[in-house]
Symmetry: C2
Subunit: 333 residues, 2 copies
Amino acid sequence: MIQTPYLLFLGDAPDQLGAKVAQGIKDWRPEHAVGQFRMDGCQADLGLTDMTLTQARAAGAKTLVIGVANRGGVISPAWKKVLVMALEEGFDLASGLHNLLRDEPDLVAVAEACGRELHDVRVPEVNYPIANGVRRSGKRCLAVGTDCSVGKMYTALAMDKAMQAKGMKATFRATGQTGILITGDGVPLDAVVADFMAGSVEWLTPDNDDDHWDLIEGQGSLFHVSYSGVTMALVHGGQPDALILSHEPTRPHMRGLPGYDLPSLEQLRDTALPLARVANPACQVVGVSVNTAGMSEDAALSYLDGVEKRMGLPTVDPFRQGAERLADALAAY
Amino acid sequence: MIQTPYLLFLGDAPDQLGAKVAQGIKDWRPEHAVGQFRMDGCQADLGLTDMTLTQARAAGAKTLVIGVANRGGVISPAWKKVLVMALEEGFDLASGLHNLLRDEPDLVAVAEACGRELHDVRVPEVNYPIANGVRRSGKRCLAVGTDCSVGKMYTALAMDKAMQAKGMKATFRATGQTGILITGDGVPLDAVVADFMAGSVEWLTPDNDDDHWDLIEGQGSLFHVSYSGVTMALVHGGQPDALILSHEPTRPHMRGLPGYDLPSLEQLRDTALPLARVANPACQVVGVSVNTAGMSEDAALSYLDGVEKRMGLPTVDPFRQGAERLADALAAY
């Protein structure tokens, strides 16, 4: 568990996109973002107060989060000085980079000397159990996609926000590095050893109040041959009561797999639902979430309307329209 | 890759079942089994020549395989003396125990001093790629089960044997520890990190002659919520041309999951085949393999006959009957 709130480290990000992890934290957990730390030449700006390490500590920040991605995911030498100083000032460090904090001997030595923690959110820090399939109390919702990267995390976070606004009991459950950095906790599912995948999802979504919803961050796709096993572990380990179908309509082929067509939303429904019912016979498909970023407003609204009529399910783009109607679908469950 | 042939170490096995890994090697790769090494009090006997380490080296053995399971999977102190001597005599060691050889400092030190290798077949020794989904030449067959431990490995090994006897080109591809020890090579799939599961199966079953069959050892079940993600990675990473449905008819519930019923063979077919066709649109279900160990001969034959009529597929118990008819099904593919 990463200590919040954060100072968001933007480093020398070459552009706004380079700071998208920090942007996610600021968008979805503004209460976790005390301020931003930018180095000379940083081209990203989250609109947060620029702070020195000392100012951020005084404002209550506990962890410096590396919210910027370098080419190759490495920890740049230019960053090192700041990271070492942050440890010395009393910050923990958290990172989702491929280049692990724990593989940097100087950071390890300083963290140890200062009694601070290094969080590499790509690496599991828990010995997860093997899944036991026992029914848990409370309710769970999972977004499953026709492909990878079609907006499943965004959908779950937007539903969480809409449900909180309605006073519903809901918790976003992160299963990827960005989600973990946003919430401070979760399971880096793609880095979990095969035998323990479903168990890690059970661990992440334990017994809860009967009217509480876990909004589980989806991963991969049952139709994406590189990652379908990870998705399957979510479908069975998560025991979802409700599925949201997620889609991006403009993609020419499955992400990274030329020659593989995307399935239709109907195919996704007819594949995912029977599999989910193995673990939870009550599971229902309750809505559709479409990423229409690649379409004009008119085309998007017309597409959403068409899907809604065809599928008979509330269909929204949570970015354009918010996720209230999906939250309503869970409220009516 | 483990060097063959082997001396099979039965240690102080309390009964024949305790030596079942060694038994598997002797049954399926007798040419790999130069002899057996038994300690005082050993209650298992494979019917192989009892050999000293020196005799086995003289007979060509290159690796001492721990073919016995202790309670808890630990390396017993009583074994240590033999294992150290074996390294000194020039043997590599191979083990599928939970207790890793590499976690025993004395074995590591002696192996290093003697220039020998320690193979823990539960631990991946390769950096597998992420699956790319590209079609590979050659043909692949995968057994998928209604449950775990219904005889999928046995089926693949029996088919391999039958196909070799017919002069067909076939290779058994191990994905579990026993299979890896039997063949000397493979992928310990349940220990692979989630993101690389399907890629490890692609790596295991590369391009081959058009008339060559990989017989991929199945794992888990699409209906077993603890391990279904592992099975999914086999279905997509393996790109099977042919599926064998495997079943054990007397089981009261899914293995280790009270309250979870086994699916029917029809459900298994209707779930596995569409998923397999995502990666290989030509995939067909070509046969059924039933483990009838819990049934009388009459009941077994009658059951097999019933399934064959119902499913319209060659249906055999490869243990009672051999796998010739399944091999024929691949020959006719």
